[in-house]
């Protein structure tokens, strides 16, 4: 029953969020100066031409009518057609999703496998007199270094000198796995710098918090070895904030790593949606933003479920003091 109510609450709030996001995006697009007709026909088109174009796409109706039309179709699974490419939006986004997905997965896995051990290690080596300044400097730099700076440097270095990894030249994994990886490693690495730093930092703080818990002292007092204590008592108890962070980073990256996609010329979702904003390709923007919001909500639910599995006090089905 508790579980059912939890799912119900999550579902209602998800629907409300998606509806809100779709309305907000819809209004924001309509509020932008310069509509589809002006943008496409250019500054010298006559009013007559603009009206004709607007009429053809139904853009002369009121915003409410337009939204209603979009909503009805969207609920039926039809997200419309790109007014630029004349392709269905769903298939356009579908073709770009694997690129963005692969990028996000590569960056997040790197963060998981490098950031978490790094965080645990720096926490265990931390000294109360504020040592570990170098580690803090490096992770601070990683978190604050903008992607366009790091990305530009990487693009420059790897295009100027032949270092074995290619800048641009994306090919689908299915066509050429090796070529795909050589093209994807650099952008994924650029994205992972932030992810690794943030993960290492969060892990370090979480482990430091767990280290002072009485149950860790109790385990030390029982004569357990550091490796045993880390494996059995520290990792799981420190995992909650790391899981939440990783899910947020994943969701953020799945929404499209716009700058990196541009820099490395990757056909991902981020650059596509931004391009669509510029061209007032309404249906594409609408569906793209909604996709990002859905991913966010879904990852949040997953993070909540995982956190519940990790810590019984925080779980979906957490029982209170039952004895």
């Amino acid at each position: 029953m508790r579980l059912f109510l939890w799912w119900l609450r999550r579902a209602v709030s998800a629907v409300a969020t998606l509806a809100g996001v779709s309305i907000l995006v819809f209004l924001a697009l309509r509020a932008m100066p310069g509509g589809f007709a002006e943008t496409i026909l250019g500054p010298f088109a006559s009013a007559e031409q603009q009206r004709e174009l607007a009429e053809r796409y139904g853009l002369d109706d009121s915003a409410f009518v337009q939204y209603w039309r979009w909503l009805q179709a969207a609920i039926g699974g039809d997200f419309g057609t790109s007014m630029i490419s004349r392709e269905p939006v769903a298939s356009e986004l579908g073709a770009r999703l694997p690129v963005t997905g692969q990028l996000a997965v590569m960056a997040v896995l790197t963060a998981l496998f490098i950031g978490v051990p790094l965080g645990v290690l720096t926490a265990l080596r931390a000294r109360p007199d504020g040592g570990g300044a170098l580690g803090r400097l490096v992770s601070g730099l990683g978190v604050s270094l903008p992607e366009f700076v790091l990305g530009s440097i990487v693009v420059f270095v790897f295009s100027r000198y032949a270092l074995g990894l290619s800048v641009g030249g994306y090919v689908p994994f299915a066509d050429d796995p090796a070529g795909n990886l050589t093209a994807m490693i650099l952008p994924a690495a650029v994205l992972s710098v932030f992810a690794i730093s943030a993960t290492a930092r969060t892990t370090r703080d979480a482990v430091l918090n767990v280290l002072v818990e009485p149950y860790v002292t109790a385990a030390v007092a029982r004569g357990e070895s550091p490796a045993f204590i880390i494996r059995h008592h520290i990792l799981r108890n420190a995992a909650t904030p790391v899981v939440v962070l990783l899910s947020t980073i994943t969701a953020y990256l799945l929404g499209g790593a716009i700058i990196v996609e541009y820099l490395f010329n990757l056909p991902g979702i981020g650059s596509y949606v931004v391009q669509a904003v510029g061209r007032r390709d309404y249906a594409v923007v609408q569906a793209g933003v909604l996709l990002a919001a859905t991913v966010f909500i879904a990852l949040n639910v997953i993070a909540d479920l995982v956190v519940g599995l990790i810590d019984p006090r925080l779980g979906v089905t957490a029982e209170g003091r039952s004895m």
Binding site: P128, Y215, G223, S225, M323
Partner: protein, 343 residues
């Protein structure tokens, strides 16, 4: 025969940014096999630091300044990390103040008990171990998570973990301070019974003067990081030989006759930044003379007690240190904790 535990002029400092705090200022204490010793003192007297030092569980900012601590003849601060772990596993047991916090919140009780017992010759029968600490319905408790237990239940689980290996010395740092008063007595009784059965010595750190007096064979009173009085429990509490013990006994609610005002110990405990030049209690002591502030007292023997006081012999001859109210209150009144705070 070497004593089981011996602290010899043990001094420990905590290094905080910009200042040093001396927590232990030359502790001398021995615990013989099978003995039950209560350590009594206010917050900040150094008793928790002493308890942690015995397991080498001091926080990273603590430093051994001088002195030595031996368990069974082995000098703890000279051992490697691996040797220290062996001493902890084979000889020491700890029970801490926060019972629920001492258990891993993400593991079921049975699972963590099994984890704590494996590979050390203890019985892995979780239900049996929980029955030994008199937990009703052990099967259900084995399946529960720590946050689903009461403080008393959790402390029994922690005791089961500590006592399953039959350690030679059990260090109990205010193990009942966080419990309800009814449960408190049961848990104390059980710890002493299990220890007696296993031949385990107990070092019982407490505010609770009366309870210590009833249960422990010996009492050591700590003040300013030193043991200022040490002797048989009944003697120390009924006929204190140190002015501080006297003040402590008079401030305990149990020692007052009905209608009598409790006399709090005037002033506050000192925070030492280095070795105390004289007696740390001098500033709060009604009997202090010039010498008390400038010269560190050395232990003198007053009857069965060992006392750190320049004027102990003088005062022992007078009635100055008589305990108010019922003289033998210690043995007859219910335990009441000294002071509300516990640190």
């Amino acid at each position: 025969m070497t004593p089981l535990m011996e602290a010899d002029d043990l001094a420990v400092d905590y290094q905080a940014p910009g200042r040093r705090v001396r927590a232990l200022d030359g502790v001398d204490l021995t615990v013989a096999r099978g003995e039950t010793v209560g350590i009594v003192g206010e917050s900040g007297s150094g008793k928790s630091t002493l308890g942690s030092a015995i397991g080498r569980l001091l926080s990273q900012n603590a430093q051994l300044s001088h002195g030595a601590l031996t368990i069974d003849g082995e000098s703890l601060f000279d051992l490697s990390a691996v040797q220290m772990r062996r001493v902890r596993r084979e000889k020491l047991g700890f029970v801490f103040q926060d019972p629920i916090g001492s258990l891993d919140p993400t593991k079921r009780v049975g699972a963590q008990l099994r984890l704590a017992l494996r590979g050390r010759g203890a019985s892995l029968d979780v239900t049996g171990q929980l029955e030994r600490v008199r937990l009703a319905d052990p099967r259900r408790i084995a399946r529960a998570y720590p946050h689903q237990l009461s403080g008393g239940m959790a402390q029994r689980v922690a005791i089961a973990m500590a006592m399953a290996t039959e350690p030679e010395l059990l260090v109990a740092d205010e193990p009942t301070a966080a419990l309800d008063s009814q449960v408190r007595d049961d848990v104390s009784t059980m710890i002493f019974a299990l220890a007696a059965e296993a031949g385990t010595s107990i070092l019982w750190l407490s505010h609770d003067l009366a309870a210590v007096g009833r249960r422990c064979g010996r009492v050591a009173v700590m003040y300013g990081g030193r043991v200022v009085e040490d002797g048989p429990a009944s003697e120390v509490l009924a006929r204190p030989a140190h002015p501080y013990t006297h003040a402590l006994a008079n401030s305990a609610p149990a020692s007052a006759a009905p209608g009598e005002r409790l006399q709090p110990v005037p002033g506050r405990p000192p925070v030492l930044t280095g070795p105390s030049p004289g007696c740390a209690f001098a500033d709060r002591c009604g009997f202090a003379i010039e010498r008390c502030r400038s010269e560190r007292p050395r232990p003198v023997r007053i009857k069965a007690q060992s006392v750190l006081c320049h004027r102990a012999e003088e005062l022992a001859g007078s009635a100055a240190l008589a305990v108010h109210g019922v003289g033998s209150a210690v043995a007859t009144t219910p335990p009441v904790p000294l002071g509300g705070d516990r640190s």
